[in-house]
Symmetry: C2
Amino acid sequence: MKKHILVVPGDGIGQEVTAVGKKVVEKIAQKFGHEFTYDEALIGHVAIEATGDPLPQETLEKMRASDAVLFGAVGHPKYDNDPSAKVRPEQGLLKMRKELGLYANLRPIKLFDELLGASSIKPEILKGSDILFFRELTGDIYFGEKGRKNDGDTAYDIAEYSRYEVERIARKAFDAAMTRGKKVMSVDKANVLETSRLWREVVQKVAKEYPEVTVEHQFVDSAAMLLIKNPKQFDVVVTANLFGDILTDEASQIAGSMGMLASASVGDSTGVYEPIHGSAHDITGKGLANPMASILSAALMLDISFGLKAESEAIISAVEQTLKAGFRTGDIADASTPKDMILGTEAIGEEILKRI
Amino acid sequence: MKKHILVVPGDGIGQEVTAVGKKVVEKIAQKFGHEFTYDEALIGHVAIEATGDPLPQETLEKMRASDAVLFGAVGHPKYDNDPSAKVRPEQGLLKMRKELGLYANLRPIKLFDELLGASSIKPEILKGSDILFFRELTGDIYFGEKGRKNDGDTAYDIAEYSRYEVERIARKAFDAAMTRGKKVMSVDKANVLETSRLWREVVQKVAKEYPEVTVEHQFVDSAAMLLIKNPKQFDVVVTANLFGDILTDEASQIAGSMGMLASASVGDSTGVYEPIHGSAHDITGKGLANPMASILSAALMLDISFGLKAESEAIISAVEQTLKAGFRTGDIADASTPKDMILGTEAIGEEILKRI
Ligand SMILES: CC(C)[C@H](C(=O)O)[C@@H](O)C(=O)O
Ligand SMILES: CC(C)[C@H](C(=O)O)[C@@H](O)C(=O)O
């Protein structure tokens, strides 16, 4: 198979982990006889530094022209601590999502058995958890009008959802549930928000088309609690952009570490595959970052954008074998991990490559 | 001391737990020689049924005329599953918060040592956790304009914060931090939301008045993750209404169960003291509800609204002794709890009363 992949490492540890992710993809190409070509482009803080624009037109064009995007992370503490900054790395990320119509963000939360001990949650609570989040990604309070009034003394953000936006993400969630445990939990705050009431209305309607699927509606506060209390009760979760952002980060603790979690953003055109972790400037450049989220994002890319199921599974299995062999990165090591089994970004990447 | 207390049980288990909370308050009055008088009023679904209004004028007037309000819960599944309902129990709760100017919601998350095993989080991660949340309670997306447009096909909710709203809650959080671990974590989503950027700006400014306090800013997604990963790193947390709603429910898992968590809503006038749990209609009327959140809310009332520190501590100590004696409600029992030590709402209330 011939495919053209755009690599967009972005900021911070995005650079380090995406480099390893790309190596894994190339190893798969060699092994399975595919012909992948690559290009690279800028986004986020590095793009601002180079061009003044967090999402240069050139990057967007390259994305549109590629078969899939392997993405790193964006963000820089410089902007976080300066609330008045006008140009920000995240604007590039959000614009990319909007421009490419990436309305569905899939975040699978699956715990490798070898990491049962790495979580702060008790192993018996975790064992067997397997959750697939569908986070809506191009609407909500992320994309509504925002600004200041009263001489800058009042700030506002408008959350907005239209029927069709809820419908298309709900349908994706129900379709996925049919191939899994046939359970969908829809998370909203319908006791307070009008957008949530529309959300619930539409999900109830879509649900009628899937009589085999059991639907549950939870308020976001309650869902945040249940995720920790009893993660095994979850199968497919569908929720709005902001709630999905919060709940999936929280759910990373089910998988032992954020460093293990991949995501796929899909919709109208090119799919984008990225770790759910951020740019993590505190460990940038130290070679300590866990590249597995990027590697598992590459696996999602092969599966979802290219339909290469066996290739995708070869990657997941190599990660599993590496964990079985006892290798860890710092974020997933625990008191019982021997010091010499704790590897850096590149070294654990090599172990995974060996096992493909 | 003479005080007039308004008891507002509200909906579902609110009725059962508040009855026990009130008994505990009266026991304290007898024991310490105070003269408390009581009245009762309606809110939520029961108020709608009786008067058509989720917060009848009479209730509001009684609240204003009282020295403190002991509150239960509001909500009913009937409205949750009907997104088009025009009158809802929660409107009563929100109107009460606004009308009484209850802008600061204090939610202490403290784990009784006896319940170390009841949480889904590992005991060694939990041990020693002691967090005090300040949730802003009268602004944000809860109270901005909301509605529909495009023939009802688009819904919107406006989040709004003004400088003075952030300032007053931030100041309360910093004041509290000075009496505790001198650490404040402010939680926002300043990389996306304009309201969060205003929030961060103001918190940074207020922080300058408290040079002894260490301030940390976290994005809400990251905070949701850290709460589970390392709850011990938290001291005082200050955050917006919606984020506070989500994070405190999540944090209930640190305390073993939502059934243990009390809250105080304070501001311009009468303080309102309520469990953070909801109306829980699935267990209503069965006598199974854990009354300790209501009892501990009463303790907060004595401390914060009446300045009765010893009385407040007598309640907390009675709860502790009851747990030490091995008594549990169903929500905080675990595999090692003997069946005959698992008590219902009234029976565990009696055990606690005995120990005051
Ligand atoms: C960086 C930030 C804007 C982004 C988001 O909130 O969507 C991130 O947290 C994510 O989850 O991809
Ligand atoms: C019932 C609901 C409106 C309320 C809220 O969201 O504030 C509740 O969850 C709470 O935390 O007090």
